[in-house]
Symmetry: C2
DNA sequence: ATCTAGCACTCTCGGGCTTTGAGTGCTAAC
DNA sequence: GTTAGCACTCAAAGCCCGAGAGTGCTAGAT
């Protein structure tokens, strides 16, 4: 942990906040700075020089003002960040969006992404849990013509997943209902991730004639497990990023947008680094991925059915309005948990 | 319809194709042009002057070469476009992606978007039909605790849509199965768009105690109808656009990306203008929406279950490789129709 | 009648120059 | 420890100019 005397602390905070506001390097004679700190430019200069020595500020070139480094933002976020509660109107807007009509969970998460992007004016992302993170509620095998059926899994959160499967020879349509009922009864409440091969095997007895059918189900789940690492991501409000001056350089914009839109695995894995508790901030080069080095993430988990279900967050430039971002993410995550925990 | 003599025709084609290749204004002394046309620059110049007069070419400034106008591209596409069949390898790649494992329709469309973007190197978009465009296959009401049920609609293409609804007082869990069966039987095969209020009403008898439940179903469908205009869109390969020189200007890029990503309704409505048959090309200012004036769309419909189900297409700069784009879109749409028509 | 060559003209682009001014670091006085 | 003064540095902006690309026009060749 870095130690800062009161003066440097004040200077760091002022520089960071002013830079966040203006997007320009901040000089020692800057008006807002002088007013806020009430000391002479020379004094500010010496503090700045110290902060630069510590690696918290930097200089684009000799005659420019100071700009926070990623480490500078880190210290700011860790030590100097004050809460900036959302306005009453904003809270209401969020609650209205999320508390509205009983939607499907997917709709709800879409709306969360939407409102978060709108309020924070950055790109938002919601990672919805893969199948395996959810609890098995029921399986329904629905006849779908000759030798084919639609397998529908319903999860604890009310999500519905269907997939057509081919029936083994010798399984009639009439068996499907019975089979559905048996499987549902036996597996209800299990985490889908826990449905290992053996577990499924035991459900209907080993040498059963349903073997082939179970195999299909298993393949389905396994496939979903494989893509489980990269959760399903919903990204919204990308337009806000393009307004930020740091993303006006086309190469930077391209890199970031690729990471957000086309290579979802990058963002997904970056999000996976978030701890379960609280609001997590990852700044610039702290991100595991090169592509996100111009960005910061502000992320929080949300809960459904009493368990951590996914994460919701913001992506912005490192020069991000962390106060607002943290407040918005926290509020949305909390509301989301409230709604989802209630319905599960 | 514009009339062009052979010379102008050849010059227009050469200019358009060279500009597409190089992204630069094309001068009358341009090497490729002279070689291709085999006449002197002066001759080319006079043809160009004529084409400019007709509004098919333009001049960024006095001493620059010519650039096609939107109308120029239009004439090129309508009169001068030759087929450029995809390579064997590309066809195979597309077929592999689309013919693979029996996926859910949604997965299939995602893959179509993916492979199309990869092959054409532009952004791709796939519009999947709204619920109402599909045929009703079955309804299942699945108990979901106290007074609540999950209504699952299965459509002809095997798509699954679920939504929790609240049961009217006096409807027990046991009734649900029976009710599901009745509704399924009566409605099977109907187009969801045709499920009008009266139609639903008749299904279980008028003053029925299921009234409230039907009301919920109806609301669901109606809601989907409302959002039916904007189909569900899957956009991929946006990164390719950012590589194009015309999208390097941040304001242009912002406008286009907003239209593609955040304001799906814009793209959706633009796509809705596509006719059902063949490959449709919409160039720059021909697009209904201001935001897309820097873009061209190349779009074709695909069929499922014997009916037009949705559209698939590309979004690129007006300086687009139309030959490739048209070939790729046509091929993907055809393969998609093949697969979807087969499984429906 | 069409094409070509020649030529004067226009206008953008890029390089190199200078000026400007913001911001710094240092030193010495308070 | 703080402040004022001052010389120094360096990017950004403006400016000028030459180079070069491309044009349109006209007169002559085919």
């Amino acid at each position: 942990m870095v130690h800062l005397d009161a003066r440097r602390r004040a200077v760091l905070r002022a520089v960071v906040e002013e830079h966040i506001r203006s997007a320009e390097p901040v000089g020692s004679e800057h008006r807002a700075l002088r007013e806020q700190l009430g000391v002479s430019p020379a004094t500010i200069r010496s503090a700045m020089a110290g902060l630069e020595e510590m690696g918290l500020l930097t200089h684009p070139h000799t005659s420019a003002g100071r700009v926070p480094t990623d480490r500078g933002y880190r210290v700011y976020v860790d030590m100097l960040l004050e809460d900036e509660p959302l306005s009453q109107a904003e809270r209401q807007a969020i609650r209205r969006q999320l508390g509205g009509a009983a939607e499907t969970p997917v709709d709800l998460l879409d709306q969360a992404a939407h409102v978060l992007a709108a309020i924070a004016q950055y790109a938002s992302v919601v990672a919805t849990p893969g199948l395996r993170q959810q609890r098995f509620q029921a399986l329904h095998l629905l006849p779908l013509g000759e030798q084919r059926a639609l397998a529908v899994i319903i999860t604890g959160t009310g999500a519905v997943q269907g997939r057509p499967i081919t029936l083994p020879a010798g399984v009639a349509s009439d068996d499907l209902d019975e089979l559905s009922r048996v499987i549902t009864q036996r597996l209800q409440g299990s985490l889908l991730a826990d449905l290992t091969d053996e577990r499924l095997e035991r459900v209907v007895g080993e040498a059963s004639r349903y073997h082939q059918l179970l195999e299909a189900l298993r393949a389905w789940l396994r496939r979903d497990l494989a893509r489980g690492a990269r959760l399903r991501l919903r990204v919204e409000g990308v337009r806000h990023l393009l307004r930020e001056p740091e993303f006006r350089r086309p190469d930077v914009a391209t890199t970031v947008l690729e990471a957000l839109l086309d290579e979802e695995s990058v963002l997904g894995q970056a999000l996976a680094a978030a701890p379960g508790e609280g609001v997590w901030v990852s700044i610039g080069t702290e991100n595991r991925f090169e592509e996100l080095r111009a960005c910061s993430l502000v992320v929080a988990g949300y809960r459904a059915g009493g368990r951590l279900a996914g994460v919701v967050g913001l992506v912005g430039p490192t020069r991000m309005r962390y106060r607002r971002a943290v407040a918005a993410v926290r509020y949305v995550a909390d509301r989301l948990s409230e709604v989802l925990d209630a319905t599960a």
